[in-house]
Symmetry: C2
Subunit: 295 residues, 2 copies
């Protein structure tokens, strides 16, 4: 396997929207730059937290193009490129590879349910073959609570064996430590990110490379601190403090909650704009959340 | 509500693929024309059976454009336009409306799970507003076994009330007769299609307008016969005979099974091409299926 170009704390960047529910690209680019200043080592735009699959194919291409043109280094980017169609996924992944992005975060096709490992393997392989670009670096995106379809351990092994220079890592958002542990133990040297910063310390201790965490939108410096100090004696305590922030938001729908925090922090109510089917927290819930998070 | 432009037996047209797994457009157009000759009253390309969500946005636009240019009447078409993104869904729906298609079949955004009725309502409304074309006629696509997200009875009612000239029907592929019955009883005059021809007679008896059925790819004339003769005395027996065909394929993954039947019937092995994540039946299963179906 090749050297990991991406590691540390990546934010699946929230997407600010205009009142017309289109991506507010200038505000988004400024936020991306801010996150890199505030502690993120990289960015994963168009992730689940980014409402990435609520964006159109052309919107994602246009946004990524503008982000790189604005000076954000492509090697620090891992854009989400997964769709239900190998045609659209190859289009997005090929575009990201040509921009020389550090990697791409790739969902399996997730429309059909109950599909076989063989089918998921072939879909991933077909996208890689269609892109046909040695600059492509794939991070598998395993998030069965939302996509339902995922990458089994057997499929991860098969994909690494078939494409050792291309399939170089994974984001495990199963929420299941046993699955994450099995990935870490079975695939040493693979670029394994935990989808939740609550497993960051345990992930690093087993050789993982970092976290791609929704919370990195709002507390990047705190997560980065743990990443830089995970061998310190008090690392467990640092992890525990980090967990309190997650705990304070746990009861609320995560993307609306994070946008609420951004609106409150910046005084800019347009941060509340969400693309349906997501909707904002009720006024009551929003007030509770902010009290918990800031408390 | 406006007069139903579409009714009867619609086929969610199988998509023939080349060996490179791209849509074989000439073969597809010929198959569409054949289905209309063989008994379909209309066509629903890009449905679940069509591997519609395995096709890219631009592929769907190009295919529909070519289909209409080849002389298939747009008013007999109900293309699938649902994606996870209101931007892409509006793009596809707007294109179909401008071609004056009889309707569009619209999934709710299906990436995020556990979303609210309010969120699904807003997503549907936003697409309709973005299209902003009085030619748009929406059939809601309720298929929770695959999309997981669906349209509740309350949301159907709300969408009809908000857009009485646009939201004119539904395809219920819940597989749940109780749900279909509730739709038929609660929304008389709404264009309700059953997603399975096994409920065709019961649907017509309660005022529904027809079926959009995978089996209409392979037995269109038999299904059409029931549609034309549902008030005959022996209609229940006709329905029972129809059910035997479905029963003969029931144990097999439906899309691979139908492509197997087409390959066998035409002697053209390229009908077996499927886009992953779907894969073909094993040789054993294929043989069993064909014996059952032809038996």
């Amino acid at each position: 396997m090749t050297q990991q170009p991406l590691h540390g704390v990546l934010s699946p960047v929230l997407t600010p929207m205009t009142d017309q529910l289109n991506p507010d690209i200038p505000k988004w680019i400024a936020f991306c730059k801010q996150l890199l200043q505030d502690g993120c080592t990289g960015l994963a735009p168009f992730g689940t937290t980014s409402e990435g699959n609520s964006l159109g194919v052309e919107e994602r291409i246009d946004m990524l193009e503008q982000l790189v043109a604005a000076g954000v280094p492509a090697h620090r980017l891992m854009p989400g490129v997964g769709t239900c169609s190998i045609a659209d996924t190859a289009k997005l992944a090929g575009h990201a590879a040509r921009l020389d992005c550090g990697g791409v975060l790739m969902l399996p096709p997730f429309y059909y349910k109950g599909v076989s490992d063989e089918g998921v393997f072939r879909a991933t392989a077909e996208v890689i073959e269609r892109v046909g670009d040695s600059r492509l670096r794939v991070y598998l995106y395993h998030i069965p609570p939302i996509a339902v379809v995922g990458f089994s351990l057997a499929n991860i092994e098969r994909l690494i064996a078939a494409y050792p220079n291309t399939v170089i890592g994974i984001k495990d958002s199963s929420g299941d430590w046993n699955n994450l542990q099995a990935i870490l133990e079975n695939f040493p040297g693979f670029g394994t990110f935990t989808g939740s910063e609550k497993f960051l310390l345990s992930t690093l201790r087993l050789g993982g490379v970092g976290t791609i965490s929704a919370m990195a939108n709002v507390i990047p410096a705190r997560i980065r601190y743990l990443y830089e100090h995970w061998t310190d004696e008090n690392a467990d305590q640092v992890q525990e403090v980090l967990n309190l922030y997650r705990e304070s938001t746990r009861e609320y729908a995560p993307i609306p909650a994070l946008k609420q925090i951004m609106a409150s922090r910046t005084g800019d109510a347009s941060w509340l704009n969400l693309r349906p089917p997501l909707i904002n927290l009720s006024a009551d819930k929003a007030q509770q959340l902010l009290a918990n998070f800031n408390g």
